[in-house]
């Protein structure tokens, strides 16, 4: 799986090609240093092994949260696929860095959205839940900083990915599920 970009002249709409998924917001870049701006759209090419991490049984029954969980799983899967695919580590690094940043940003966004939801429904364990989110966010941020400082050592990134995956699945099926049970019980 890989990232690539397509360009189009201004005013022309870009559709995702068959078997591809748009992952970035469109950018406007002046390619030829004139007043002609082109639309640039990034895509992620889907491979045969796309979407294997997410399972329907991970749904907790809160549509907003389930949608975001699915997106989060997809992004984690993209990151893991980038670092696990065949090829020299140095050649894979640009894609690994890009997918890691992409995943990291969504972790932060999702946690924030989930906590807003928890506040809206008066979830009694939201402080404890927030602390769990905070601890994990700090861990991800620290890892990203260490990787950047140390040149993305392969073994460390592989270890991070393994831990990330196990943590995420457990968080959804155990911690977030508690939130769902509260919603069902209280009719929030």
């Amino acid at each position: 799986m890989r990232f690539f970009e397509r360009t189009a002249p201004p005013g022309k709409r870009i559709f995702a090609p068959r078997g591809h998924r748009r992952v970035d917001k469109p950018l406007m870049i002046d390619y030829n240093n004139s007043n002609h701006y082109y639309i640039v759209q990034s895509y992620f090419a889907l491979g045969a092994d796309y979407r294997m991490m997410w399972k329907e049984k991970y749904r907790i029954g809160i549509p907003l949260v389930d949608r975001q969980h699915k997106e989060l799983f997809d992004r984690v899967e993209q990151f893991v696929a980038a670092l696990r695919k065949d090829g020299e580590w140095a050649e894979k690094l640009p894609e690994i860095k890009k997918t890691m940043a992409f995943m990291q940003n969504y972790v932060v966004d999702h946690f924030a959205a989930e906590e807003v939801y928890q506040k809206q429904i008066g979830y009694p364990e939201r402080e404890k839940h927030h602390q769990i989110h905070q601890d994990f966010t700090n861990y991800v941020i620290q890892c990203a900083a260490d990787f950047e400082k140390n040149g993305y050592p392969e073994r460390d990134v592989q270890k991070f990915a393994g831990k990330l995956l196990a943590w995420l699945i457990n968080h959804v099926v155990a911690t977030d599920l508690k939130m769902s049970r509260y919603v069902k019980k209280e009719g929030a």
Binding site: M52, M53, K57, R84, G162, L165, A166, W167, N170
Partner: protein
């Protein structure tokens, strides 16, 4: 737990000690000592497949780190349950080794477990502080 059911087994499957992944979690507090998880290679590869959807042919850092986090979660849950009985314990980060680690797995009580991904063994070497 973690997308898998784990139950007690009568006896663990025969393991190749050299290829097992051993995860040791040390406890401190009212009880101190070690909890040791032993994952045979086949179980390890199946767990990775179950959680990530990806086939791997050999155990590597990605796989061992995943198991380390699993053991960390299991132990953390156990310590939380203990705290509800006024027993205060804490856990240290997991130590992961490939192979048996003989001095780590001798003695203590042992229990064979079965998961959807294969058999594993858990060993307890704990003493009341």
């Amino acid at each position: 737990m973690l997308d898998m059911e784990i139950t007690r087994a009568d006896s663990p499957e025969k393991a190749d000690a050299g290829k097992d992944v051993t995860v040791t979690i040390s406890l401190t507090g009212d009880y101190s000592g070690d909890v040791v998880f032993r994952f045979p290679q086949a179980t390890t590869l199946n767990i990775v497949k179950t959680l990530s959807g990806m086939d791997i042919s050999q155990v590597d850092d990605f796989a061992t780190s995943m198991l380390g986090e699993m053991a960390n979660i299991i132990s953390g849950n156990a310590v939380s349950a203990l705290s509800e009985t006024d027993c205060r314990c804490d856990i240290r980060p997991p130590k992961i080794t490939l192979g048996n680690g003989p001095e780590q797995t001798e003695g203590g009580d042992s229990v064979a477990l079965r998961s959807g991904a294969g058999d594993l063994r858990e060993q307890f070497r704990l003493a009341q502080s």
